[in-house]
C-alpha cells in the first residue's frame, strides 16, 4: 500500500499539479506536498501525490557507499 515510484517532472500545471514521466508513461499528479519541485526534478509518487523530491546528492552518496563495498570485496 505504501508503494511509491520515482518519476520526473515534465511541466508544472495549474492548481498544484504537474505532468510526470514514469519511464515513458505520463500522468498528472499533485505536487502540493513538494512545492520546491521544478521541471526536470525527480519526485517520489504515491497514489497520485508527490511525497518527496529525490535528493541527487544523497542518492549519489548511497551509490558511492555501494561502490566502496564492491571495491572492498574485490580487494579481499
Amino acid at each position: 500500500m505504501c508503494l511509491a515510484v520515482p518519476g520526473q517532472i515534465i511541466e508544472l500545471l495549474d492548481d498544484g499539479q504537474a505532468r510526470v514521466d514514469f519511464t515513458g508513461v505520463r500522468r498528472t499528479v499533485s505536487v502540493v506536498f513538494t512545492p520546491e519541485a521544478e521541471p526536470g526534478d525527480w519526485v517520489l509518487i504515491h497514489v497520485g501525490f508527490a511525497l518527496a523530491t529525490i535528493d541527487e546528492d544523497e542518492a549519489k552518496a548511497t551509490l558511492d557507499l555501494l561502490g566502496e563495498a564492491i571495491a572492498a570485496e574485490l580487494a579481499v
Binding site: 520515482p6 506536498f33 525527480w42 497514489v47 497520485g48 555501494l66
Partner: protein
C-alpha cells in the same frame, strides 16, 4: 528505471552480504523486524533472506495497512456499499479483504453493489463530481504515507463544495503500533528496519522513543535490495557497538523532519482517535485517525448509519501472530491450503505486501535453507 536499477547491483548486494557475517557473533541469534510490508515483499522477491548469515532472523511487522484492518470495518464498508444510493471507491487491494463469513467488497460488487477501484482518492472525488446523483464514499485505509492524499482530497471537496462525497476513515499511525509490539511481553526483537515511505511524511524523529525508551536501534531503509541489506548492516553495527539510535539509509527521499506540507494537511483534516482496533494487535490507544469536526460534513461515519461491527479474528488464521513477528506464515495450518491468494482467509494473504502472500508467491512454504554468501 532511474533510482531503482542502480540499487539492484548484484555485486554490491554480495559485498554487503559478505560483510554481514563479520558483524555477528557466530552462533548468536539476532531478530530484526522489517516494519513495512513493502520491505517484506522486496526481501522475498529478491531472495535476500538467503544472503543473510544464519544468525540473523527477519520477522515481519504490522506495516501493511490492508493486513491490519479488522473484519468488522470491512463489514461496515460492505454495509455502506450495499446502500442503493452509494458508490464505494477504494484501492484495489482493499476490495479482496474478507470480512465476516468470508464476504469481501468484490463479492458485494458481484451481487450488485456499486464498488469501484481507484488509483488515487482524487479520482474518487472526480467520480462524485461526474455523477452528482450518486453518494460517493471513499474507503480510506493506509498509514501516514497515504493519509495526506486523503486529507488533501477532503480540502478539495470543501473548496469545490462537493456535497455527494465522503470518506470512511480507517487511517492508522505507525508509532503506536510499534509501541504496542515493544510492550508485548512475548516480543524479543533486537532492532527495526524502519519504514521508508511512511518516513518521507513523518520523518525519523517519531522513532526516537524506540531507542530512548526501549533501547532498540532503528534504521529507516529504502526498498531496493542493496538498501535493505545496507540497513541490516547498519543495525548489526549498532548492536555490535551496543548503540541504539535512529539512522537513515534512505536519505535520498527521507528527511529527519519529514514533509512539513503533508504534516500540516494531516493536522488540519484529521484528529487522533482515542483508540483504534487493529487486526491481530487488538485495540491500541491513539493509533488511528478520524476526520476533524471542521470536516464532519464529509465524514461517512457521521453521514450514514455505520453499524460499527466487531468480529473476532478467525481462529484458524494466525495473521495476528504473523503481524507481531511471533509466527512464520508456513507455521499457520491454513497457509496455502484453506488460505491462498485466490481465496484468502486472512488479510496477510490478501495484500501483495502481506507476509503470507509474499511467502506464498515466492515459494517459502517451509523453513528456508540458508546459503552462505
Amino acid at each position: 528505471m532511474k533510482y531503482v536499477d542502480e540499487y539492484r547491483d548484484g555485486r554490491a548486494a554480495k559485498a554487503i552480504a559478505a560483510e554481514l557475517s563479520t558483524l555477528v557473533v557466530p552462533g548468536s541469534h539476532v531478530k530484526l523486524m522489517e516494519v513495512c510490508g513493502g520491505h517484506t515483499h522486496a526481501i522475498y522477491r529478491h531472495g535476500l533472506d538467503a544472503l543473510l548469515p544464519p544468525e540473523v532472523e527477519l520477522v515481519h511487522g504490522p506495516g501493511c495497512p490492508v493486513c491490519v484492518i479488522p473484519m468488522g470495518r470491512v463489514d461496515d464498508a460492505i454495509s455502506l456499499a450495499e446502500r442503493p444510493e452509494v458508490t464505494l471507491a477504494s484501492f484495489g487491494d482493499m476490495l479482496r479483504v474478507p470480512g465476516g463469513r468470508r464476504r469481501s467488497l468484490l463479492e458485494a460488487k458481484a451481487r450488485g453493489a456499486d464498488v469501484r477501484i481507484v488509483y488515487s482518492p482524487l479520482d474518487a472525488l472526480a467520480l462524485a463530481v461526474a455523477e452528482p446523483e450518486r453518494e460517493v464514499v471513499f474507503f480510506g485505509v493506509g498509514f501516514e504515507t497515504t493519509a495526506p492524499a486523503i486529507a488533501l482530497t477532503l480540502l478539495h471537496a470543501r473548496r469545490e463544495h462537493v456535497p455527494n462525497f465522503s470518506v470512511f476513515c480507517n487511517h492508522v499511525l505507525i508509532g503506536p503500533a510499534l509501541r504496542a509490539i515493544l510492550d508485548s511481553p512475548e516480543t524479543d526483537i533486537d532492532g527495526f528496519v524502519g519504514p521508508g515511505h511512511v518516513s518521507t511524511v513523518i520523518g525519523t524523529r517519531p522513532y526516537d522513543f524506540v531507542c530512548s525508551e526501549y533501547h532498540r536501534p532503528v534504521v529507516v531503509a529504502g526498498f531496493e535490495p542493496t538498501d535493505i541489506l545496507q540497513a541490516v548492516a547498519m543495525l548489526l553495527r549498532q548492536l555490535r557497538d551496543g548503540r541504539a539510535a535512529v539512522e537513515n539509509e534512505y536519505g535520498r527521499v527521507v528527511r529527519s523532519e519529514g514533509n512539513p506540507a503533508a504534516l500540516a494537511v494531516l493536522d488540519e483534516v484529521f484528529t487522533v482517535r482515542d483508540e483504534f482496533e487493529w487486526r491481530g494487535l487488538g485495540s491500541i490507544p491513539h493509533s488511528g485517525l478520524r476526520i476533524a469536526d471542521a470536516f464532519a460534513y464529509w465524514d461517512a461515519e457521521r453521514r450514514f448509519e455505520v453499524p460499527g461491527t466487531r468480529i473476532e479474528d478467525p481462529k484458524a488464521c494466525r495473521c495476528g501472530d504473523v503481524l507481531r513477528g511471533l509466527a512464520k506464515p508456513y507455521e499457520c495450518t491454513v497457509f496455502g491450503t484453506a488460505c491462498t491468494p485466490e481465496q484468502p482467509l486472512g488479510t496477510c494473504m490478501v495484500s501483495s505486501e502481506g507476509a503470507c502472500a509474499a511467502y506464498y508467491a515466492y515459494g517459502r512454504h517451509r523453513p528456508h535453507e540458508k546459503v552462505h554468501a
